[in-house]
Subunit: 207 residues, 6 copies
């Protein structure tokens, strides 16, 4: 028996790398597969738990909504494990605006409330549904999608992604919240100059 | 403009295969990547919604718990999308017994109640936490893990997996719920003959 | 020697599946990995060649540009090989409008002319360059990007993707070229009603 | 010709990274894709050879068996190459107890002797075979499996895995060889208290 | 308890697709992920065993060697499982000539005898070793490599691959065993005309 | 609105790792997934552009051809993005000799000129085509292939690969441009001693 114990110890003890997980050291340089692993000796059960989704996000903002992520940057235990999650709080009238996740499919579960959600395919077909408590919808990777509170009461959804770093590109921020010139935006989106400048002004864009 | 419209149509119309998704035809033969795709012309928004998690599972059973899956077999819209989900209902005293998912990492979100959950690593280290409403825990792929109701009230968790077919191997069913001979089980688990036969009898195993 | 010849033949002859390639039967149902393979016995050298990029696309349209794809639907030899290509013709003033490829990174080579191209990251940072003949730019997977003729003469670019089905979601078509209701678009994009209706009218959208 | 030589040298000489392999520096922090690469200049033919499987493992232990791994921790040349191997020595009566490899499929070749081996599927079906010299069996990823000497003489098997770090979770060690409390084990496995405590005592578990 | 049994059955019984494996129907059309799955109801333990490596290959040929594959075409149980194996018999003087596996890394274990084996990297560096019984060598994916009997006695090696269809391109057959014209071969290899024609004649090539 | 801005900043600002890209620090040790990421704060638009393909390669050499790569070592912005490119200049009579890319499929576009190109499958079947301006050919991963100028004028092709490090093994350099002994080469290729020594002398090989 001692022999087995010794063997099993031998398999893993000489290594900085656990076979099963790789809790991120977020401070070092990442690489295409994620972050460097913390030594397994310094990993505890707490590293696999994230408490930051327990509290509602602050929906006192112009979208009356909040997205609280539990991606690898917030939850280092997810590094290399191919999954992440987030909570969506939607006050009455709240909306998670049109956005994409460049690196992951999303699945959404309605914890409470009523949510209208949809995505648009590469063939330009919209797929829109109104979901009630306990219902689930999937949003294929990289496609434009949105979520809107469809009831008069607060709604909560939990979403999961098949990547620890799904990325998040919110259309309005991508177009109007940076220094991309109005001329370029107009030429590539067919939006009117006044419209572009109005939204740039709201979202802090320049140029 | 007609030219663009034509082009975009051309990209996808001659194909039985949407670029973005592949809603499963469950009846045909599957293959290692999943199931054949239903024609995009026959796909509707409903195919991306699953309502089967809205109702609680029946926990009137010896584990006082129920697992309700939304895997590709229940939710064909997940085919090829690399994700799935399930609900866990835990009545007071309920337990989801020791099990593995051979093909996926799991992430769990507590909708309500209090749950003690844990997994055991390849280095035989247990990582156990007690989770409250809104807390999240991750279970790396292929490792033994469990969930137990840790409060006196019903608990609900939503779990997600980074595969549409995570698989599910419940330890007791794998060992005692089939025709694997008692002699083989005893030899490979060091369990006593009486113990093996007792559990075989409870779980319907033979041999 | 006969023995070897026999062996090598044996390895592959009994199979409908070549070890190296899988030229698509486009008519059957696809699956998440692509299309069924044509029998290797029916595959010829021509199946690995695509001539459809030799002629310029028709740029007599409102964008003064044309995208001619060589994806698996046009070029069945690419099935399962993880790559595809396309040509972009940009007449003077031409533009490939803001779009994404949900399933692939793109690399662009300027065959002739001058092209301003850019993408916007998940962190909302624009990365814009003006490229001359022979210069190359990469567009990471799933991010909004565009190409504009930056000279007074026609320009040609060849782009490649690391998927046989990169997908193509053109922002304006996704938003304005379908039946997504104006109210939903406005709520999820912050665009003005007049702007939405104007573009719906140009791009054939309803609702 | 000098030009070609120069070109080929140029392709690789400025890099710390060989295109083909990445022999591990085991001491540094790993990451989800494995370990950092040793400089190709310091790599020799010996780095691709492992001699540690040449000697039989010591089977003088309670399982009359030994598993000698050639995983990336023992054989750094495997880093990033997607494969590993191990030898199983089974003295008469020997058994490799019920276990899983969370991250790899296993293929087993009987070098000599007679071995009964089996796995249990997610559908709880056991697949058991008795193998003779030269026979091969495959064990799909993440499923419980075992190997038993089925003859009266020593047996040797060589197994391979499609990962340099397949992981190894031996059921008895996972359940009884650590500090997981007896109460938790009993609740999640339905095993009797006496059984759990007996095995904990044998395998060095506490709690 | 009946409830659990019912649930577990429900998870898998309505499907033609087992969560864990996909034994190939070799006769139908393959696809990029492999072959269609046989119904799990028709799968038995025998499907996971291959006996074809138990007998030595016939080495009475000009290379005094034989390669006996257990790829998915010979061993349908490997379909989708990411692994395969083969046996190499090397009579005295035997050689497995220079070849590549386009789709897999190879790991070799010497069952008996003495074998000189080597591969050549993309940087043109040869890595050559002489291996004795029980020693292991790895050959990274896609690189030219070879095995030679280095003793005066028969040698046997077992090799494994991290793909069920590793492919096999034997250099001499690729160059000289088909209808590729002598002129093309000479132009692309710098080999002399007499040399090319001599080997074409031995290996059955035309042109 | 400030809340959203804050949130989006929060998602990415605390990290050394952009969600979308990972521009390589080439100097550090690589790992199986590529190189460490430069901090996103130090990344500019220029990092996604490569100008090194704008000038023709020098074809004044014995093959009258030049391959100019834009792999991750030359173009660090490709790190982790799964794609790369190269230009092939073929003077009249020029040839890119028989070679493989162990880690990628290649797609070729003829910018100008006429090129005969071909590959040989694992089943030893040659697939050869003569391509004109604008035509495209695909070469499946890991297979021997070549390109020859088939006109009397210079030709230019742009090739792309589905890996940032496709690797490049030129048959003649692999066999004759290093220290692999003539005896080993002859034994594993069936080439005559005089032929081997002649090519070793041309290509700088020893042994």
């Amino acid at each position: 028996m001692l022999h087995i114990l010794f063997l099993v110890a031998l398999l893993f003890s000489s290594s900085s790398h656990a076979a099963d997980f790789c809790v991120a050291k977020l401070r070092g340089a990442g690489n295409p597969s994620g972050y460097a692993c913390r030594s397994p000796a310094n990993v505890t059960a707490d590293d696999f738990v994230f408490k930051g989704l327990a509290a509602a996000g602050n929906t006192t903002n112009i979208i009356s909504a909040a997205v609280t992520p539990a991606f690898v940057q917030q939850f280092p235990g997810l590094n290399g494990l191919g999954i992440s999650t987030a909570r969506l709080d939607l006050a009455p009238g709240g909306v998670v605006p049109m956005h994409t996740h460049p690196a992951a499919t999303e699945i959404l579960y309605v914890v409470y409330g009523k949510i209208t959600a949809g995505f648009i395919s590469s063939a330009n077909t919209p797929y829109v549904n109104t979901l009630k408590t306990g219902e689930v919808m999937v949003f294929p990777q990289g496609l434009l999608h949105f979520q809107i509170n469809a009831g008069g009461k607060p709604a909560l959804a939990i979403v999961s992604f098949n990547s620890p770093e799904p990325g998040l590109q919110i259309l309005d921020f991508a177009l109007f919240g940076n220094s991309l010139s109005s001329a370029l935006i107009e030429k590539t989106t067919f939006l009117d100059d006044a419209q572009v400048k109005k939204l740039k002004s709201v979202l802090g864009g320049t140029g």
